[in-house]
């Protein structure tokens, strides 16, 4: 049978052993994950669970922070547009502020979508 110590610690309960027959019915083991029998013996290639690159608990806080930052830079952009006169405006400064604002807004809206359950 397979050695539990070799499996990843994360959430594997036991290997896929077909259960003995009891009164003519069998069901798959409902607890946790059952990995295919073959993989138990591949010690070096024990499957590693894949998780999201950003912890899921952070999504709402991260989205709020990034959106606030994005709105701040958007405000900065529009104030600059409104108060500077035509000759004094510098295109480089405008583009830089727009880029920073759109990055923050883009990531903020992505995490907003994820936090509300639309897993894009």
């Amino acid at each position: 049978m397979c050695d539990r110590s070799r499996l990843s610690k994360h959430r594997v309960s036991q290997c896929a052993a077909p259960c003995g027959l009891r009164s003519g019915q069998w069901r798959p083991d409902p607890s946790g994950t059952r990995l295919p029998h073959l993989l138990c013996f591949l010690r070096r290639m024990a499957p590693k669970p894949v998780t999201s690159p950003v912890p899921v608990q952070w999504y709402p806080a991260l989205s709020a922070l990034l959106l606030i930052g994005g709105l701040f830079f958007t405000a900065f952009f529009f104030i600059y547009e409104a108060t500077s006169s035509t000759r004094n405006r510098s295109l480089a400064k405008e583009v830089v502020i727009a880029a920073v604002a759109s990055t923050f807004l883009g990531f903020g809206s992505l995490f907003l979508l994820l936090a509300t359950g639309v897993y894009v």
Binding site: P18, M45, V50, T51, S52, P53, S85, R87, A98
Partner: protein, 612 residues
Amino acid sequence: MAMVSRFAFFLLWISVLSSTTHSELVISRIDRRVDLSSHIVRALFSMKVENVGSKVVSEVLLAFPNMQAKNLAAIKTLYNEGRGKVKASSVSLPTAVVEPEGMPPELTFYSVSLPKGLEKGGTVSLDVLAVFAHSLQPFPEEITQADGQLVVYQDSAYYLSPYTVKVQTLGIRLPGGRVESYTKFPNAKLVDSEITYGPFENLPAFSYSPVIVHFENNYPFAVAHELVREIEISHWGNVQITEHYNLVHGGAKTKGGFSRLDYQARSSVRGASSFSHLIFRLPPRAHSIYYRDEIGNISTSHFWGDSRKTQLEIEPRFPIFGGWKTSFTIGYGLPLQDFLFKVDGKRMLNITFGSPMDEVIVDNLIVKVVLPEGSNGISASVPFPTKQGEEIKYSHLDIVGRPVLVLEKSNVVPEHNLYFQVYYHFNNLSLLGEPMMLISGFFLLFVACIVYMHTDMSISKSSASYLAKIQLEEVQATVQQIQNIINQCLAVHDKLDASLRDLSRTGDVQSCKIARKTADAQLKELVKELKPLVTFLHHSPQASHIWPKVEELVAKEKDMQEKMFLRHSTVVDCFEKKLGGREIENRVASQQQKLAALRQEVDDLLEFLDEI
């Protein structure tokens, strides 16, 4: 019944053949146990096969009459190694094989491959579990609401096998309740809802004795005509499963109308075979569960979860009687790390194939695995044969669409609810494509703003109002530049102040003098820059209302400069003469006050100009 007589006739014919074929194996003992308590028939054959021939045999044939074989949904053989109670868990895979050597077409054969050949004189014990769907025929086919449901099960008391059987028994377990009739020949005993036939000894191959049991079975006959199970993977942390059910009651059809009053008030007229609750066993940590149909959300559902499973119990909008249909959708989300793994550079999804509903027969099951955009090299490994295909689905933030792996299977029973794997390649950088799309969307908005502000969209370039506007803009620009320069002057003043404070702290006169020199130079430059701007403003007609303020500002600033320098030199002098701190303060006091007042006025003016 015609079926049965035809069968008996062919049996006569086949018994001639039987002695010549398959004489190497003999079944020394077989115990058959058939479980009829639910609407899915499960038959367990425990057999001991003995090799009485001279050659090594590596396969055992199992025969089923075609009538039974077309309802056979799942078959599984377990091989018991060793003599003791220790059950080895190796599984041999039976496959359907059609015998070419004159075997009758009314039989379907399954061949079980033994892991090591059975030598001469050896025995092997096998446990075969066969699951049949739609094997219980409702008889009568239509019942009223008050009747119980009676069904018919047909089988053979003698095990139909291509080998001779030495000892055999058959046990049929009934669900309890009324047994209308059962075939009494041969040797039938009905004890406690279990009918036993046998034991029978030394029967030739292909012996068959029809047995019919007519009994009451009120188990909910839940049959899903079609189930579409969509498993959508998002690498941001969620596996979303959506299941669309077309459920039908597969038992005796209801006739004579439905009386809600009888159903609710009188429990004897309840419709014993109807069902109103369905139970789903979902994996643990399932969240965001919804239950809806075409009309909208259905609120009659409960769910509770613990660390081993989540149980969802739903009630359709109406109780399901025989022949009635309902369709609904169940959806739930699961955490990604329970089901997606990285193996060997590929990603592997490990998830159950069948429906999580208890005891349901699915006539046509379609599983669609939707993988994220940018996945390639998709392959699936399923423990039983399925029909596979691929398609594309367009979902949130998609450019090229998501690849979908479609697996189809018909006649699915709960024994098919095993784990299957899907392998694919995915580069983590493709995950960045989604925020990049959002970022570029927002950036385009900003670029549109910039372009709008930079373009000049007035129609006539020589009208009086247009020219006036241009001049006003120029005045504004100039005022802003003047403000800028004044701010820089003030910064220089501050630096000078700081140098004085440094002096009182450290006593370094030299650096103080140097600071004064640099301040002097900077201020001179700034004044030079200021000159053309001031003259321009002076001459432009548009600036007439702010010109006095600007003039005042410049004058005050000049005043400040002079007073600043005066104070500075006084302090430095006092220091050189080594006078006390009190003295210095006395001499500088009045100048200090005037400076403060001037500074305040300059600040006010700047603010005023800002607002213009």
